[in-house]
């Protein structure tokens, strides 16, 4: 079973709560995903156009909530966001994400390491969203992150596992769980990540923007299970062509 910071998770699929067209769709998709953990974000209240409470429906689902620091462009802003999230949600878990560039939304590695180090010292369980750089992931583990969350592809891009070789190094060497986050567009992408030995995946856009989010969440759940099982069994290695039926003389090619 997956364990992060001494907490066990029965599902290796984590989900994001953004981009759903309705709260009801989000709830049914999360339920169908079987996930034990869902991310959410923070915002300053618009005093003139107040948004309804999004927390109550999520709390009804009885899953762990993982606040993110989305919107933070610097380490300082991310630390503030984490402190606000801790006060708001009474959790010391945080998905650390610092992406200052709206063009590609790639995470700032230096700011992420610096914020991670500070947040660990403040008692946070830090899950950093990061570039699939093996040395960066190693550094994030060394400063005390409870897991690393390298991206498969840019956020919301649905491009799948674009740097499998880099993820393979990370998975092989990481002393902490590896959660592949961002860019997984199809259940097969999630299966690829899990077959490689990832400990979990986090999916948002591919479920939330699917024509039927709940059905797609169930497909992702299945793919994650199958991918994990495949990894645990160990799959046959690749080689040149090798007949899988006997090549005996059946026809007489005279």
């Amino acid at each position: 079973m997956l364990t992060i910071a001494e907490q066990s998770f029965t599902s290796r699929l984590f989900v994001g709560t953004g981009k759903f067209s309705s709260q009801q769709q989000m709830q049914s998709a999360i339920t169908a995903s079987g996930s034990n953990m869902a991310t959410l974000a923070l915002r300053r209240i618009d005093l003139n156009h107040r948004e309804g409470d999004v927390l109550a429906p999520l709390q009804q689902l009885n899953i762990q909530l993982l606040p993110n620091t989305s919107g933070a462009r610097t380490a300082k802003e991310a630390i503030s966001a984490a402190l606000i999230a801790r006060e708001l949600l009474a959790t010391n878990w945080v998905k650390l994400e610092i992406h200052p560039n709206s063009h590609h939304l790639l995470p700032d590695p230096m700011a992420t390491v610096s914020a991670a180090e500070a947040l660990v010292k403040l008692g946070f369980i830090v899950l950093p969203y990061c570039f699939p750089d093996p040395l960066l992931c190693q550094t994030l583990a060394e400063v005390g992150c409870a897991a690393v969350m390298p991206l498969a592809a840019p956020i919301g891009s649905n491009k799948g596992v674009t740097m499998p070789d880099m993820l393979a190094y990370i998975i092989e060497d990481s002393p902490v769980p590896v959660v592949i986050d961002a860019g997984l567009g199809k259940p097969s992408d999630a299966a690829i990540a899990m077959e490689m030995g990832a400990d979990a995946v986090l999916v948002n856009t591919a479920i939330a923007t699917a024509p039927n989010p709940a059905a797609m969440a169930a497909c992702f759940a299945q793919a994650v299970k199958t991918g994990r099982k495949t990894y645990e069994i160990g799959y046959a290695s690749q080689s040149g062509a090798s007949a899988s039926s006997p090549l005996t003389a059946f026809f007489n090619h005279a």
Binding site: G16, T17, G18, K19, F20, M26, T39, L40, A41, L42, R43, R44, I45, D46, L47, E51, D53, V54, L55, A56, L65, P67, N68, S70, S80, L83, I84, A85, R86, E87, L88, L89, I155, G156, A182, L202, N204, T205, A208
Partner: protein
């Protein structure tokens, strides 16, 4: 007196505490978090935390996101 609340000027009524402003904004018992001058103020300190003219008060809520 005036403070800057979520980026907008807000005239607040006495006793000028975090709790009184939250009350004035009808946000009692809402799942929110508050920072004064970029420092998070625990809910248990809202009653005692005094505000001064020109302070920045930011009020946050959870929202959906990935």
């Amino acid at each position: 007196m005036n403070i800057l609340c979520n980026g907008e000027q807000l005239t607040v009524l006495p006793p000028h505490t975090v709790a009184s402003v939250i009350d004035q904004l009808n946000l009692n018992n809402q799942p929110i978090a508050v920072a004064v001058n970029q420092e998070v103020i625990a809910r248990s300190n809202w009653l005692s935390h005094q505000l001064y003219a020109g302070d920045t008060l930011d009020i946050f809520q959870a929202t959906l996101g990935g």
